[in-house]
């Protein structure tokens, strides 16, 4: 069985290339289709922001992105090239898959942030992913670093989950305990949601740093966002564990 070398490379991370001339009419063209004759162009490796002609910023109007997505779809979708030659059909399939991948990534706040961090060379989830696979392969229990602000809560919750599992094994049932765990789960879910607002404040910091900040400013915001995404993952896994314990 082959082992994927890295997940992070599931996107094309290359600097935007200068656009050249249209294969069909020779005019200067846009990334995906010719601005003069409208024909689809062979795909060039560009990042998703460049594909949509956007700066590498995180605040983004979803309505405008959607409008742009629809317009590019009308120009690039394979349906439009059903009667064209084989080569154009292939380019259209490549280009519209790029368009769809880019849109899917950019329209989602979390995916957009993760993607930008990867573009900036941040290794995301890499450690935890490899660790997860290793744990699965060897059957070891995976160790995770608990975010400091959750330490106390998690400790308490784990004790209760332990108790619940114990009771379930004995066929007992403690409604008070289940209710208490349910309450904590709700709190975690609220925290999870709140993180999105915190993330948005970092977007503002990032976008400002792109315009006027130093490399050091940008590094600091990147670290904050990475930390937030890790905390978010941690809470998500915790909620999943709670759900499993309650369902079992």
């Amino acid at each position: 069985m082959a082992i994927p070398e890295s997940k992070s490379s599931s996107s094309l991370i290359m600097p935007g290339e200068a656009t050249s001339t249209c294969w069909s009419c020779g005019t200067m063209r846009a990334v995906h289709f010719c601005s003069a004759c409208g024909k689809v162009q062979p795909p060039v490796p560009v990042d998703y922001f460049t594909f949509f002609n956007l700066p590498r910023k995180l605040n983004l109007d979803p309505a405008i992105l959607e409008q742009e997505f629809y317009e590019l779809s009308r120009k690039l979708h394979p349906d439009v090239y059903a009667r064209a030659g084989k080569q154009e059909q292939e380019w259209s399939m490549e280009q519209s898959s790029l368009l769809n991948d880019a849109y899917r990534t950019l329209k989602d706040p979390i995916k957009r942030t993760q993607y930008l961090l990867r573009l900036e060379g941040v290794e995301l989830e890499e450690q935890s992913k490899n660790a997860t696979e290793k744990a699965r392969a060897t059957g070891e229990v995976k160790k995770q670093v608990v975010p400091p602000d959750l330490l106390e809560e998690v400790f308490e919750l784990n004790l209760q989950l332990e108790e619940l599992r114990g009771q379930k094994k004995m066929g007992e049932d403690d409604p008070a305990l289940i209710e208490e765990i349910g309450r904590q789960k709700l709190e975690l879910e609220e925290k999870y949601e709140a993180l999105l607002n915190e993330l948005k404040s970092y977007w503002n910091q990032w976008d400002k740093a792109v315009d006027t900040g130093t490399e050091e400013d940008r590094r600091q915001v990147r670290d904050k966002m990475l930390d937030l995404l890790n905390r978010r993952n941690y809470i998500r896994n915790l909620v999943r564990d709670v759900n499993e314990a309650l369902e079992d």
Binding site: P4, S73, A137
Partner: protein, 633 residues
């Protein structure tokens, strides 16, 4: 160009249809029996000829071992995942079937794969369209259930190729239906399409925006439909008969087919009336009679109908929508005629569903709309564009038998993902990749799509090669894989072993026969039809010669007609369609005055107090020659 005419085909579990865009609206093309629906039944007659549609239905009862229905349930599936089907359907598998081989169904002493049987149905639809247009049809859009996986889609595409059709696009059935509805509505909003057919269930949620039909989420069950209701009722009838009379008919193919026919009739009747009864004549003069009320029926089918609720809720959840955010609900598929199903949909989405288009035809009509779009569009379809999604996540197996999802379900297609692979041993030349489809965590719970072997990796120390593998799901929902070793820049060779399905060579072999046959068919049929037409016009001319009008012609006119008559008599025995056609047309022209004179005399006869009927107008040569039905097996 007429030869470029693209048709839309709904290849259904129970019925199939072919439609096309006439002027600005889609229409269904009827078969030679005048019916819009071609039952998806295929039989092999005593002379080993393939019979399709209504004509094949009688074989289901008379010689069930020579007929097959609902073959769509077997498309793209292996013998191990149809065990449930085998209990409920009278599928007869070939005895020498090997594990991992594509299924083969026995009809009489012959065996056919499900794509071949589907191809027979497609060929019938193709013929119906050709008869309608008077020209060959080679391109089609074919619909599939939205929840069909890669193997099922590939099998459908193969069936098209075998039937001699270039499949320009596979369109999801509920999405096609929304196109048919959207055509005259031209509005923006969120639409849910609930599609319960003969054997499959789909739910799709779409966003309509200025002609863009964007599917947001889809879900379903490819083994849930009217068939399941029929099977439930058959089982109850069989149990009844065993209980009351001690007769076990479950292995009696003929009796099961008879009962099946009766329960389907009862099911249909109960959509319109509060109660119905069915009576079946049994062996040894026995009789099975039963009355069933709609209330009882609804209780019986409740568990089946309820199975559609889960997928609907999941689709709403995936679309991040609440039921009240849905603007319109559209019903598709024959099973949505059942009042209980309508009530359930109304409750689920909290609004009355649309039923203005015939639920049996709407998918084919939508396929015709998509065919028109692909053909370059028209005024009616201007600005219309379909953005569909992949219904199931695509994953690859990683260490520990876990599925690593690389393209998530409900991603807009075409969609792609790139993965990088390396070697684990020095000098390793091959890397194996196992591609899966499904939502489950473990590889063994997902559907195996294919195993790929990356071959010819240049010898390097372990971990050094970097093979880029690109997975791309095209606009048909079908997977393509390509690979490149990055350090050497070499294209890596990929050897694909589809887990289910025919290899390219196998399909190729099946096409050649039937394709040649189909082409030859068409020419033969054209010639036969032209000959029949020639006979009609010659017979009319004989009649004309005996009429008083003949005497009014000049000698030259008569001579000219005789010349044309001789010419037609000569070419009609030859196999040259164009020559026969031309001779018919010139004779038609040459007898124009005779026809007029006959008409005049008929009118004056009428004035003498006779009715037109009595006047025996005769079929004057110019009376327009109806296309005679071809005498064709």
């Amino acid at each position: 160009m007429i030869s470029d005419r693209i048709v839309g085909i709904d290849l259904g579990t129970t019925n199939s249809l072919v439609a096309f865009m006439q002027e600005e609206s889609p229409v269904v093309i009827p078969g030679d029996d005048g019916s819009n629906l071609v039952p998806s039944v295929v039989a092999l007659d005593e002379r080993d000829q393939i019979i399709v549609g209504n004509a094949a239905r009688k074989y289901l009862i008379e010689t069930p071992e020579r007929a097959v229905y609902s073959v769509k349930r077997l498309m793209g599936r292996g013998v191990e995942d149809i065990q449930e089907e085998l209990k409920l359907f009278p599928f007869r598998l070939a005895e020498d079937l090997q594990a991992g081989e594509v299924l083969r169904i026995k009809l009489g002493q012959k065996t056919f794969t499900p794509p071949e049987i589907s191809a027979f149905i497609l060929r019938q639809l193709k013929r119906n369209a050709e008869r309608f247009f008077g020209a060959p049809v080679t391109k089609a859009v074919i619909t599939v259930p939205a929840y069909f996986n890669d193997a099922q889609r590939q099998a459908t595409k193969d069936a098209g190729r075998i039937a001699g059709l270039e499949v320009l696009r596979l369109v999801n059935e509920p999405t096609a239906a929304s196109l048919a509805y959207g055509l005259d509505k031209k509005q923006n909003g969120i639409v849910a399409v609930y599609d319960l057919g003969g054997g499959t269930f789909d739910i799709s949620i779409l966003k309509l925006h200025d002609g863009i039909f964007e599917v947001i989420a889809t879900n379903g069950d490819t083994h849930l439909g009217g068939d399941d209701i029929d099977n439930l009722l058959i089982r109850i009838a069989l149990d009844d008969i065993r209980g009351d009379m001690g007769l076990d008919l479950s292995r009696n193919g003929e009796m099961v087919a008879t009962i099946r026919k009766a329960v389907i009739e009862a099911k249909i009747a109960l959509s319109a009336q509060p109660a119905t009864r069915f009576a079946i004549a049994l062996p040894q003069g026995n009789r099975y009679q039963r009355e069933i009320t709609r209330e009882q029926f609804e209780q019986l089918i409740q568990p089946i109908v309820d199975r559609t609720v889960g997928p609907c809720k999941q689709a709403l959840k995936d679309a991040k929508l609440k039921p009240e955010q849905i603007d319109e609900v559209v019903l598709v598929g024959g099973s949505t005629r059942i009042p209980k199903v309508r009530a359930l949909v109304e409750e689920l989405f909290q609004r009355k569903p649309h039923t203005d288009l015939n639920p049996d035809e709407v998918v084919a009509l939508g396929a015709a709309v998509q065919a028109n779009i692909l053909g370059g569009g028209s005024e009616a379809t201007e600005n219309m564009l379909l953005l569909d999604v992949t219904p199931l996540s695509l994953g690859i197996e990683v260490a520990g038998g876990v599925t690593d999802k690389i393209i998530l379900r409900n991603s807009t297609i075409p969609a792609s993902a790139t993965q990088y692979y390396t070697t684990q041993i020095d000098g390793q030349a091959n890397v194996a990749i196992h591609v899966l489809q499904g939502e489950r965590e473990l590889a063994r719970d997902c559907r195996s799509l294919a195993r790929f072997d990356l071959k010819g990796i240049p010898p390097m120390p372990a971990g050094m090669p970097r093979v880029e593998v690109r997975f791309l799901i095209d606009a048909n929902g079908i997977l393509h894989v390509s690979a490149r070793e990055q350090r050497s820049g070499k294209e890596a060779e990929i050897e694909v072993q589809p887990s289910y399905g025919l290899t390219d060579d196998q399909v190729e072999g099946m096409i050649l026969d039937s394709f040649d046959y189909a082409e030859e068919d068409f020419r033969r049929r054209q010639v036969i039809e032209a000959r029949n037409e020639a006979e009609t016009i010659l017979a009319a001319l004989e009649k004309g010669k005996k009429s008083p009008a003949w005497g009014q012609l000049t000698g030259d006119e008569k001579k000219q007609i005789a010349k044309l008559e001789k010419a037609l008599n000569q070419v009609k025995t030859e196999d040259d369609y164009a020559a026969i056609r031309k001779a018919i047309d010139t004779l038609n022209q040459g007898t124009m005055r005779l026809a007029e004179l006959m008409m005049d005399s008929a009118v004056s006869t009428a004035l003498k107090g006779k009715t037109m009927d009595e006047a025996d107008l005769g079929e004057g040569p110019a009376a327009g020659h109806p296309v005679a039905k071809a005498d064709f097996q």
